[in-house]
């Protein structure tokens, strides 16, 4: 499969009075046509910033993409003019935000918000865009779509609003949808519905998905490939199966152990990762996870481990990847 999005050594930094925050620090990954890629990590590890960088939506000042390349379907995203990037946004790469309660404009009707994108990007007339809006709402499972068009966001529940957001994202038939924690603000029962819907639509329409999440359950069920991020870097990359069955970084292992699982004995206690993520303004010389790592050795504090191959399509950045592989799994 051909890669539609290739990100190479992307670096996004925020220049604040407290110092330079290296929010995204040299990440490289690609997304293939129709594929679902998950970006996993704790709050503040740079996963949202990496996604916003793709659409050049980083608020500048204080933030800026300082290095790397983003290639999307032959376009050099970082070199596009403002007018050109606006033609990509919403049209070819759409975004679904975390907060459905505040991602819709309260003073515009659902119909207007859907048709505006269609009229703007596809030059549709009023009737055509209205018909398409009805079709889209039906597609994302909203009942009585014709009536919903005249309603305002406050008439809808959170799950419904997220469906509307997904309909908006799908409206111009983009090649890629970036979903930034699409289910975090929703009830657990609704979360599964929304994720099923997104997976179903992406498979049916051949849209690639980048799902940003901190929920490994989501990853296991819905992602083809996974990027685990820590302190602005990708520290492990592989297929969902590889990440689950052969975690090769202590952080990934920690994440897996901190999620309750049905295939483990009930009395086993959850094993959270101790400590807090590091301050991104002053990272040390070594591995960023080293202060919290129970497998750390002296070298970890001195040199940053590079991403190295574990197996086919599976890479990890840990000095003790090989000699600790077995121990790590034993510990789990």
């Amino acid at each position: 499969m051909a890669a539609i999005l290739e990100i190479e050594n992307l670096q996004t930094q925020f220049f604040t009075s407290a110092g330079t925050v290296r929010a995204v620090d040299g990440i490289t990954y690609s997304v293939n046509h129709g594929e679902t890629v998950a970006i996993v990590g704790e709050s503040g590890c740079g996963k949202s910033v990496s996604a916003l960088s793709i659409l050049r939506l980083i608020p500048d000042p204080p933030g800026r993409v300082v290095g790397g390349h983003i290639r999307f379907m032959g376009l050099d995203i970082l070199a596009l003019s403002d007018a050109e990037i606006r033609k990509v946004r919403g049209r070819r790469i759409a975004m679904v935000f975390q907060e459905p309660m505040t991602s819709l404009n309260p003073v515009l009707t659902i119909g207007r918000q859907l048709t505006e994108t269609l009229e703007h990007h596809l030059g549709m007339g009023r009737e055509a865009s209205n018909a398409r809006a009805v079709e889209l709402l039906g597609m994302v499972g909203i009942s009585d779509p014709q009536r919903r068009l005249a309603q305002y966001p406050h008439h809808l529940s959170g799950g419904m609003r997220q469906r509307v957001m997904i309909a908006m994202a799908l409206s111009c038939e983009p090649e890629l949808i970036i979903a930034d924690e699409p289910t975090t603000a929703l009830d657990v029962t609704i979360q599964a519905q929304i994720l099923e819907l997104m997976r179903d639509l992406s498979k049916r329409l051949g849209v690639a998905l980048i799902i940003i999440t901190h929920n490994l359950g989501v990853v296991a069920r819905y992602a083809d490939r996974v990027n685990v991020m820590y302190a602005g870097k990708i520290i492990e990359q592989g297929s969902a199966l590889q990440i689950y069955h052969q975690p090769s970084h202590p952080y990934t292992l920690g994440l897996l152990n901190s999620v309750p699982r049905l295939d483990r004995p009930r009395q086993a206690k959850l094993d959270p990762i101790e400590g807090q993520p590091p301050d991104l303004t002053r990272l040390g010389a070594g591995c960023a996870f080293q202060p919290r790592c129970r497998f750390a050795v002296t070298r970890c504090a001195q040199e940053i481990p590079p991403l190295e191959t574990v197996s086919e399509g599976h890479v990890s950045a840990c000095w003790r990847r090989d000699d600790l592989g077995e121990k790590m799994r034993d510990a789990s």
């Binding site: 939506l57 975004m95 935000f97 991602s103 003073v107 009707t109 119909g111 048709t115 994108t117 068009l149």
Partner: protein, 299 residues
């Protein structure tokens, strides 16, 4: 908006939820009696301005020297002035002048402030800094001084009066709107609009402006009252509307200087008209502010 052509099949439940018009208006009057009084003055004034030709018994600009200084009574309800013109007719026509100046100045000034304020909040950074400093400079002048300065550059006349009154309104509105827009700027739907690929102008005008309508409407009603007062002031100083056009400030001027003791009805009635109009718009504006502020409405 596309609302009109898709609204046809609204479900029955929405219709039931709506309060019928007359009941809603009575409810508002009960809750804001002062505002209702203000609204009454505003409506009466608009009525007078629109139907001035029908209401006014005399031509406001026609001199009748044989009736100079006629006291209020059966023939001239509010008396006649030093040219024998009917004061009642001049006040009715004066409402036209006052409202025209008031509405145009308030609307143009507030709209200018609205766009500048929202754009300033949206772009932030150096753009915001420059706009706000320019606004600070304009606001540093007292309203009347600034208006006088503009008039002295442009010369008198009703169109120049409107410009002179509009300019000081722009920063006042921009300041208030900017603070509302700053909060709106941070709500994700603005980022979502950017992620949809909309241009800055579209985001400002279609997505942010409708969300700051409440402070904007309040500013407009407050501005109309202020503009009427300012127009009267400028006319009184001889820098505004020129004779023989009927304008309240002008009537006050000619009356107050010479006839305050000998024919007090000449200055008193235009004075009352000015006070009543400004009072009415202010009461209405205050009630509107309360009605549009969800925090106050809950009490």
């Amino acid at each position: 908006m596309t609302v009109s052509d898709v609204r046809t099949d609204l479900g029955a439940e929405e219709v039931v939820e709506r309060t019928p018009w007359p009941a809603a208006i009575l409810g508002l009057i009960a809750r804001y009696p002062l505002g209702a009084a203000g609204a009454l003055v505003v409506v009466a004034m608009i009525f007078a301005a629109v139907f001035a030709d029908v209401i006014a018994p005399y031509d406001p600009e026609a001199n009748a020297y044989e009736y100079m200084f006629t006291a209020p009574g059966g023939q001239y309800w509010l008396g006649a002035d030093d040219f024998g013109r009917d004061i009642f007719s001049r006040i009715i026509y004066g409402a036209r002048t006052a409202l025209f100046v008031g509405f145009v100045a308030a609307f143009v000034g507030a709209t200018g402030g609205l766009v500048l304020g929202v754009a300033s909040a949206y772009f932030g950074g150096w753009f915001d800094l420059i706009i706000q400093r320019v606004m600070d400079v304009i606001m540093a002048f007292p309203l009347i001084i600034l208006a006088l300065a503009v008039i002295s550059v442009l010369g008198p006349g009703i169109d120049k009066v409107i410009i002179a009154i509009t300019i000081p309104f722009i920063p006042q509105c921009a300041r208030v709107v900017r603070s509302s827009a700053l909060a709106i700027r941070e709500i994700p739907y603005i980022d979502a609009a950017r992620a949809c690929g909309f241009s800055h102008a579209r985001i400002i005008l279609r997505h942010m402006v409708p969300n700051v309508m409440a402070p904007f409407l309040i500013m407009i009603t407050a501005f109309v009252g202020q503009a009427i007062l300012l127009e009267a002031t400028l006319s009184y100083l001889g820098l505004g509307v020129q004779e023989p056009v009927p304008a309240w400030g002008l009537m006050l001027k000619s009356g107050a200087e010479e006839y305050a003791e000998s024919a007090p009805w000449i200055p008193i009635f235009p004075g009352i008209a000015i006070s009543l109009a400004v009072f009415g718009f202010n009461l209405f504006g205050d009630a509107l502010r309360d009605a549009l502020d969800p925090k106050l409405r809950a009490q």
